[in-house]
Structure formats: C-alpha cells, structure tokens
Symmetry: C2
Subunit: 551 residues, 2 copies
C-alpha cells in the first residue's frame, strides 16, 4: 500500500457500500461530474495542463506495480485522476487540435454514455442485451442503406433475420477491416467437395486444395496500416499486401493494379481481395472506386472499401459523388468514433450481400446457438458494450442533413485553408484536400526557388533538412500546447518521390474556424523565428546560399 | 423523417449548439442522469420491464432504416431510449440475474466512465492519450505482477520501456486470446535464415519452410469458443483446435494430452500452443496448470492460460492456490469486465516475457513509429478508449484485500448453494463448483432412482426429456423476469457422457445472497407445478412409471 494513502477499512460491509451507495453530492467525484455536465469545454480547459510535460516525467506517477492491499478512498483516487491523469491528458476536442482524427463530441453523448454504462449490456447475446440487439441491427441497417440504398423491402426482409447480417459492430476500424478480409478470405477458399473450407482446414490446406502458391490483398501504397496487420493476423502474411502505385493525388493507379493482378496470376497467387481507400489516413484522398469495382468484378475479387474516415461523406449532398462506386463494394468499413461524432470505441463493417458474414459464423452451447439472434455469432469480438445506442442517437439527433452540414463544413474549411497556404510565400501546400485533410510544410520562398533549380542530389539534401525542421516545428508546437498538427512522410511527384516530412491537418471539429487555423500558421512562423540558432536552419541557409551563388 | 417527430431546424448554428451548450438541468436527459446518480438500482428497477416481451415484438420499434433528414430533439430521443431501449434492456446487475458473467458495478464506475468519455482519449498513440499511456502500462504491470510476481527491479526496468510490452489491453477476452495465439504463432514460425517469418510470409510459406503438415492448438474440450474463432481468424483452421478429453471434473486429462501431442507429431503437425483453462465458461473448473506447464516445457510449446473468468482468483488468499502453475504460463488472459467489476469492453492479455509481443509489432509513418511509446504498435485493435483508467481505479479503490473478499464471497456462496441443492430431493447437482460457477437440474427423486436402474437406452430417453424440461423451465423463468439462470449442455460421466441440458449459475454479484438463490429454486419449483400439462412432463411420468413397474 502506498504510504501516503489513507486506507479504508476492508470489510464485506464496506465493499457492499461501493455497490449500493451513490457518491455523495458533495464528493470530489460528484463535483467533477457536475462540472463536466455544466461546462465540458471549461472543465477541460481548466484541468488539462496545456504545456507539454515530458512523458518520462509523467511516467513517474504511474510506476508502482503493487496493487494496494487496502482500499484507497474514492475521493483520493478522484483527486489523483484529476491531478495526474486529466491534467496530463490530451485536449482532443480543442478547436486547435487539428492533427488527428478526434473532435469535440456533441454534449448529449456524455449523459447518454452514462446511461449506456449504467445499463452494462453485453451485445454478444440477447440474454444480456435484449432491445440492444434489434437496436444494433437497426443501426447497421441505417448505415447499410446510406451506402447501398437497397429498396425498403430488402431491409424489411433481412434486417432482423437471424441467419443474415447486414454488417458487424466492432471496437474500431481496424477490427472492421480485419472482419471484412476474414469473411472475404473464407468465402474465396470455401468448402469444395470433400474440402471443408479454409475456416475449418486453415490456410495451408486451402492453398494446397486450391492449387495456389499463396493469396494476396491488393491496396494502394497509401492504404491504412491496419491492412498489413490484418494480413499478419489472418495468416496471409504482410508481404502479401500488394501495395499498388498511386498517382500524383495519392490514388491507386488502375493500370498498375491490372499489371499487379496479371503478375500475381502468373505466380499462381490468388488476389482474393481488393481494397479501395475512401479517405487515405494521411491525405484524405479517394481511390477511383467505380473503376476498382469494374476491376474487382472482372477478376471475381472481393471489393472492400476502407471508408473508416471518408465513409460519412455519403451524407453530403454536395460531396457524396466523390465516393461514387462505393455502392458496388462487397464490404465497407466506417468508423463511428470518427466522423459520426461518437465517443472512442466503435467502428463497423457493412456487407452488401447479407449472407457473406455466414462464412465467419460460429456457435456455442450456452450462447450464440444456431438460429438464435445473438449478434456474437458473426463478430470477431465476443462481449461488447451497447455503443450502438450512441450511434443510433447521433443519427437521429444530428440527422442526415446535420451530418451533411458537418461534412461540408470540414471540406470547405480545408479548401479555404489550402487556398490560404498557397498564397503564403513561406509555406508549401503538399497535398491539396479532396476531403477535409491536407498536408503542407514550411519552406521559405527563397528555398522554394532553389528547390526548383538544383539537381536531384542537392534537392534531396535540402528536403532532408526541411524534413528535420518540419519535425522540430511540429514537436515544438505540440509542446507549447496551444495547437496541434500531426506530421507524416509523403513521397510527392514534384520531388521525384523522395520522402519528405509534412504537417498534416484534419478538419472535422465543427468548433475549428479559419481564425484558429490562421493562429496555427502564425505560431509555426513564430517557432521558426525562435529556431534561428537551430543547426538544421543554419545548414539550410548555408546550402541554399551555396546553391544561390553562381556555380 | 418519422412523421411523429418534431423536426429541429437544421442550421450550422443549431449544430454548433449541440457541441457547445450543455443539456439544460431540467431536460429529460439531465433528469435520467440525475436519477442514475442518485439511485442506480432504483432507476433500473423502475424503468426496466421485468416480464419478457417477445423479441419479434421489440424489433418493431427498431425497424426503420431511413436516417431522418431533419434532426430529432434530444428530449424526444431520450424519451424513446427510456421507453423502448432502457425498458426492454436486461437488468444485468440484479442480484437474481445469476445466469451470465455480468454483475452489479461499483457506483464510482458511473461518474468515472463519464470522465473517461468526456476526455475521449485514443490509446493508439501518446499524441492522443499522453498520461493514459503510462497509466495503461502501469495497469498491465499491476496485473502482470499479480500473475507473475517478478521482482520490483523487473518492473522498474521494463514497465515503461518502449521496446517491451508486459501485455496488451483489448476490448475483451476474445481479442486477448486471439492476441496470445497470434504472438505464439508468430514466435513459433519466426524468421529463419532467408525465411522472413510467418508475420511477413504467411501460414502457407511458413508450413513449407518448416516442413510441417499443419499446426495445432491444444485445449480441453471445455475450452472457450473464442479459441476456435481464433484458429479460424489466424489461418490455423478450426479443426486444428485439438480438443483434449476432460476428466469427470471438466479438467483436461494430461495423459490424453500427451497422446494427442504424440499423434500430432507423427502427423508432422506442429502443436505450437497449449491452452490451459482457468475457469471453464460453463462449469468454472480449472485445468491442472502446473502439469500443463510441465508438458508445454517438455515439448517447447507456448503455454497460454485463459483466465478470462478465473484469473482474479489470484487475489484470494484462500483460493489462489487453485491456480497454481499459472505463473509458469507464457501468456494469460484476464477479463476486466468480469471479475474486476469494470464496465463492458475491457480485457487484457499478459506475457511473462516482455519481448514476446514484439512478434506482432507494426509501425506506420504518422503514428506508432519505431521506438515511440505508442501502445498501438502491439495491439490487435487500432483506436481504443481509455478504459485503463477504470481498471486502475478499481484496483486502487477495491484493493487487493477487497478483491480477495469478493472472490471468496462468490466461491463460498457457490459451495453453500451446491450443498443446498444436494439436500434437495427434486434437484440434482451436475457440476460441483470449483470456483463460483455450478450447474444443476430439476429431477424428481423418483426419476433419479429410475435413472440409476435403467439401461443406457432408456436413460438417454429420460435424459432427453429432462433436457427439454430444463430448457422450458429456464425460458419460463427468464420470461417471468424475476430471476435468470442460463443453460448449457454438458456430458457428465454418470450418464455415460450423453449430453444433458443443465441450469448454469454464476455467482459474482456481491449483492446476491443465499436467500436470493433460495428464491430461484422456489420459483423453478413453482414453474414445474405450472407445467403439469406439459407434454414432456406427461411423457416423463409415463416413461418412469413404465420403468418403475415390475418388468
């Protein structure tokens, strides 16, 4: 036990109290709760320390691995959480936190989540979830309809059918992508005569039965890392995620794709799935989905669309056409904790054909029995919370037109910000936004001029220096704690596909404004000024000075 | 849009309000929240309809798949949730809901969950979770120490090391088990000379490289269904989950295990993992873990213990010896949303050797970079919520001795209940509790006498009738809504391993008492009386009457 903690007395009576007696209205925990309800933004603003503390220092508060013998008072733990956890958490809902795919949450999510937690349902089976089971199926139906727009009769027929599944709820997009590829794999190498199918026999027996030298998944080189993780998990192998070249806009090249398919076929490797990206994680670009659907159809390949980020663009009257072809996908991933504005921990995968998920079905004696409506029979996870209630509420309370506005707001703001960057002498737009994500970097006009003139070798040297400087600016800005952009590495055509580090901005928080983005840029400029003595900046000046001098 | 809903006006201004303006104190949602805080048990009691409604009828309220064009008011949605979702949910925290692995939650979990949701951290990376990252590592360390009890220096050295992982947080035990077998598989068929390892090359190439005819996982026939799901997902194949025979106490038979290993070796199939069950889902029995550790060591097999249910027995001074040998496991699954009393959605897997999880590590350019402390580099899932905060708080507030009492309370109550059943003439204890799970069924004394006398064929007929009656009693009791036991099928020795249906009782809710359990039995008796006209009961009377008549 921690020497500084007061120990509560350990008795069964005291233990029962924590299960039966509510927190007193004046307790630390009740006060925190009240403050969150009354003014969430204020609570976060007041309690999260803006300036970054070194992680190694934070770790000191989380280094004791002994579980205390005697209980610690709730109030003491609440104070600890406030001082050490809340204070050192990340203000993900801040309007100037534009570096990752997190946003402010609608207020109603907080009390609704509390109700969900209090009910503590388990969606694996109806016996521990009852109405939550049809509720979850309804949400799957609503999003299935958004993507596939089948006639009403289709939904009347299949929505609650115990033998069919319009999709599966998951803890997030990664599990959704794994589920899609799992089902696709099991369908592609299904039962055949005496062969019981890959589900029962495994990958090795399946390859032998089908006379393949291997199997592969095709995706652009900008595909999400979860796909390569999926290939590992599913026994396909990471190297069998065949990365297809992209064009200057980070979109898969159909000609390169066809060439890869031919090459695999010659090697007797079966490409059983093609993944189209609808919103690349790094740049928000969208693959030519309609064209990919044609190619998948031509070769009889499962066509999956990873719309974890971009899927909700379908809500937008103005921009949904950018996803044209998604309705031809065999499966689609959408993350609810991204652009559906639901708290962390819920993604889903939809299947056009409601029988595809049968390929992963499993049963047990005490639950998810054959013919039951238990949702656990067709999910990768077992026990799962009732997050569907939050998605249901968001779809109802924000509504189709509300989401359309939120989507449009982000895309329009990204376009304006990109336009603004292009007018600036000391910044360079690296990837223009197709959705609400863009990348840029700091490059003084003089250096831009040099980069256009010099040979490949010097260009690389300068770009490497700029990458290091970009990294320094990004980290410094994060440490100041006023704004946050993320960084990634891209290989733009204009630099002969040499990798450069860039700032990445994701605009999905409705509280973010043009003025906030201007402040982000202003602060980055100030940081550059403060870096006058930085070795990379000095070297950059030297190198470009040399380059500018008559050779 | 639903004709009956009032539509809120759609404008960006109104949308921004839901992100910035708290629910008014008098609103429906605020009232619900207040009621939950003031008296959770009362709230659930008042709002959940006890008597079961047919699922098909409930489905009617969840059949509309059109996302409304215009927003629905928060108050309207709150009322809908109260009337249709809360009312028709399952009272999983009721003291008489003893059929599944759900329990009442400690009160402090509700406000703490609210804080967690409000912070909306993403544990995939430190940039969106900061203090939550060391916090999660600390919790992994605490539970690692509970299981493995390494010296303090071990934890000081490795707890926060970016290249090591004492375990992984997951959404639940299924993902934990998959993660353990995934890591075991990748280690067993790792890089070797020019072969890049199964991670990159996949199962097919790995089997060829290592000259195997397949791979297998060994587990008792009472292993959880998630293992067969894991075998499917991981490309091993469900049939390669080799189910080893159990003894009369549902524990794996070491002799049968050794025989299976020999058999697999002769077939050139490599058993790369052995799973010991610490708390079978259906009967709560524990495999002889120490013996299994010996066998795994002898054959160089990864030894995983599925302690999703029983793991926390380690807290108990009195009963922890029942898990002897668990400290020799290579990996251990524990579900936090079971006996750690944390809300739904968190399990974890621990690894004795902190380098094992390196076999599943993955990286990307914008997050989980090499050498970063981002937890996402070694988890199956990507984005994940900050549930570690809840586990941390439970460990602190309940404390080691508190958990010990909770565990002892359940095990002792199960023993008393089993003793009670054994004194009853009309019930039969089918599996005695080793932990806090037991199974039994209704069998009148006269029928028990007959079952002991008759030949195998008639015994089966009678047992099949009893199974149907057990099912009817269980469903009827569930429908009445006063109490809930689950049911499963077991193959006890005393009936020559013929499968029978039994009631299953799980005793982990500290609010459950002996009196509540007596009421469960009393109600089952009343149901039997009410079933006098039931065809199965009539047939049972006829059959046993014939058997009793002099032959």
């Amino acid at each position: 036990m921690n020497k500084n903690s007061k120990a509560a007395e350990v008795s069964m009576e005291n233990l029962l109290r924590i299960f039966t007696v509510p927190e007193a209205p004046g307790s630390t925990l009740s006060r925190l709760e009240h403050d969150i309800s009354a003014n969430l933004a204020g609570f976060l603003q007041d309690h999260i320390v803006a300036e970054e503390t070194d992680l190694v220092k934070i770790e000191r508060d989380f280094s004791d691995t002994l579980i205390p013998e005697a209980p610690v008072y709730v109030s003491e733990q609440a104070q600890f959480l406030l001082d050490k956890v809340v204070a050192q958490s990340v203000h993900t809902s801040s309007p100037s936190f534009v570096g990752h795919m997190t946003s402010a949450l609608p207020y109603f999510m907080i009390p609704l989540s509390k109700i969900m937690i209090a009910l503590n349902q388990n969606l694996v089976k109806t016996e521990t979830s009852k109405a939550f089971t049809p509720l979850e199926r309804q949400v799957l139906g609503m999003l299935h309809r958004l993507v596939y727009d089948q006639p009403t009769e289709f939904y009347e027929r299949w929505l609650h059918d115990s033998h069919r599944h319009l999709g599966a709820f998951c803890s997030g997009g990664t599990v959704a992508n794994i589920t899609a590829l799992w089902a696709a794999r099991n369908r592609a190498f299904g039962p055949d005569g005496a062969f019981p199918g890959i589900t029962r026999a495994g990958v090795f027996a399946a390859m032998r039965h089908y006379g393949c030298e291997g199997m592969a998944v095709l995706v652009s080189e900008r595909g999400h890392y979860s796909l390569s993780k999926a290939a590992d998990v599913l026994g396909i192998g990471r190297d069998q995620i065949v990365a297809v070249e992209t064009d200057g806009h980070n979109r898969i090249r159909p000609d390169a794709l066809q060439a890869k398919i031919r090459q695999l076929q010659q090697q007797h490797i079966r490409p059983f799935a093609l993944v189209g990206v609808a919103g690349t994680t790094e740049t928000g670009n969208i693959d030519p989905l309609d064209k990919l659907a044609d190619i998948a159809e031509e070769h009889g390949i499962h066509f999956h669309v990873d719309g974890a980020w971009g899927g909700p663009t379908l809500f937008s009257d103005r921009y949904r056409a950018r996803l044209k072809g998604i309705e031809r996908a065999d499966s689609v991933t959408i993350d609810a904790h991204k652009q559906l504005y639901v708290p962390m921990g819920v993604g889903l995968v939809l299947f056009r054909d409601s029988s595809v998920l049968k390929s992963i079905e499993h049963h047990a004696q005490y639950i998810i029995r054959q013919g039951s409506k238990d949702l656990g029979s067709a999910t990768l996870e077992g026990s799962r919370p009732g997050m569907a209630m939050l998605v249901h509420s968001a779809l109802k309370i924000i509504g189709r037109r509300g989401y359309s506005m939120l989507i449009d707001n982000g895309i329009d703001m990204a376009a304006r910000f990109a336009g603004r960057i292009e007018t600036l002498e000391d910044f360079e737009l690296v990837s223009a936004p197709e959705l609400n994500i863009l990348t840029y970097r700091w490059v003084p006009a003089s250096v831009q001029a040099v980069l256009r003139e010099v040979d490949d070798d010097l260009q690389r040297q300068i770009n490497d220096l700029l990458s290091r400087i970009t990294r320094t600016i990004q980290k410094t800005q994060r440490e100041h704690g006023k704004a946050f952009v993320s960084r990634t590495r891209l290989t733009p055509d204009r630099y002969n596909r040499h990798a450069i580090t860039v700032f990445r901005v994701v605009l999905a928080n409705p509280l973010t404004t043009d003025a906030v983005l201007q402040q982000v840029i202003d602060e980055q400029r100030e940081i550059v000024v403060s870096l006058a003595d930085n070795a990379d900046i000095i070297e950059l000046n030297r190198l470009t000075g040399v380059a500018l001098a008559p050779g």
